[in-house]
Subunit: 211 residues, 2 copies
Amino acid sequence: MAILNRENFNGINHRFKVQFFNSLIGYKNVCLIGTKNADKRTNLAIFNSLVHIGSNPPLLGLIFRPRSVERHTYENILNTHVYTINLILEKDIAAAHQTSARYSRDQSEFEASGLVPTYIEGFNAPLVASSPISFGLTLKENIPISSNGTNLVIGEVLWIKYHEEIISSDGFADLTQAGVVGCIGLDAYTKGTILQRFEYAKPDKETRHIQ
Amino acid sequence: MAILNRENFNGINHRFKVQFFNSLIGYKNVCLIGTKNADKRTNLAIFNSLVHIGSNPPLLGLIFRPRSVERHTYENILNTHVYTINLILEKDIAAAHQTSARYSRDQSEFEASGLVPTYIEGFNAPLVASSPISFGLTLKENIPISSNGTNLVIGEVLWIKYHEEIISSDGFADLTQAGVVGCIGLDAYTKGTILQRFEYAKPDKETRHIQ
């Protein structure tokens, strides 16, 4: 085992450090955020910072980095107050990754990547048509993180589009059946296999498998 | 495909809703947080809300829910200002899940779960000895989320303990080699397989595989 402390870490090449630290923190969520700008032009961008904030009401958070390619998405959310979160199918990983390129403001990542937009009636942001699970959100809170100038953007879920057949009787969604991918770091897309589900843990009970 | 809107969502049974919404949002990170209280008693708790905040300086965020089992961890971080984040091996998932039980303040989840604590000299929080990747952090920022009374706790990474052999020449950490697990929802532990890594995307270039 190696131990790297802050002094060693600071001395490392910037690109190596970004790859290293982004991948070493464990498996991450990966999703596509769909928005429209004030001129009704669509935008699609890949994120790996989705975090569950609460279930009642259903709230999701995303971290936005300053002055990055994600800036169009950030501006669109602040302007229109709505956005979609779309999980990614195994067959779509190359197209999804391509949305991370720094396209100009007047270029839609839908056209550039070949991913097809679709709409839910009355909701002003595009969904990814091939996504097996999509959420429609409205901006709830935009929280500045003073440590490094990023922002935590919190949205409230207004609707959820999903395949009913992946939901168990207890509400659990088996993402492995849906063909959804996860990621490691900034560029590795992963497929998951469920090792085990466990019952709700109690201090006086042995850990028990579900099924 | 089914569409569930807010009205339908509100009508659902609470436990079903929590399972449904936690699992449907995609693959998540899962890790164990090691702390000590003011009486030097150790605490270990499982979290699935770790999020990358920045690489330079290295910052990680965690969501803390109010009045939950995670409260001991939260209080310990606020009191001692230090904590460890430990990724989980496949063989440790049952023990890791057991740390989510509501143990009393004077009971250590290390003893209850059988996971073994270890220490880095001069650092006042316990690591999980069997963890293939651990981080030592100092509290940097505690941000209240007014939407639902949760908190985003941001820590700065002081040291990283890891297996050197999983790091590629570009800095990428192959977690599949390290035997690290991810999760779906609140109780399903997953193993990952890398489908593909892609080069840094550019608007005028085709998406290209790494290797």
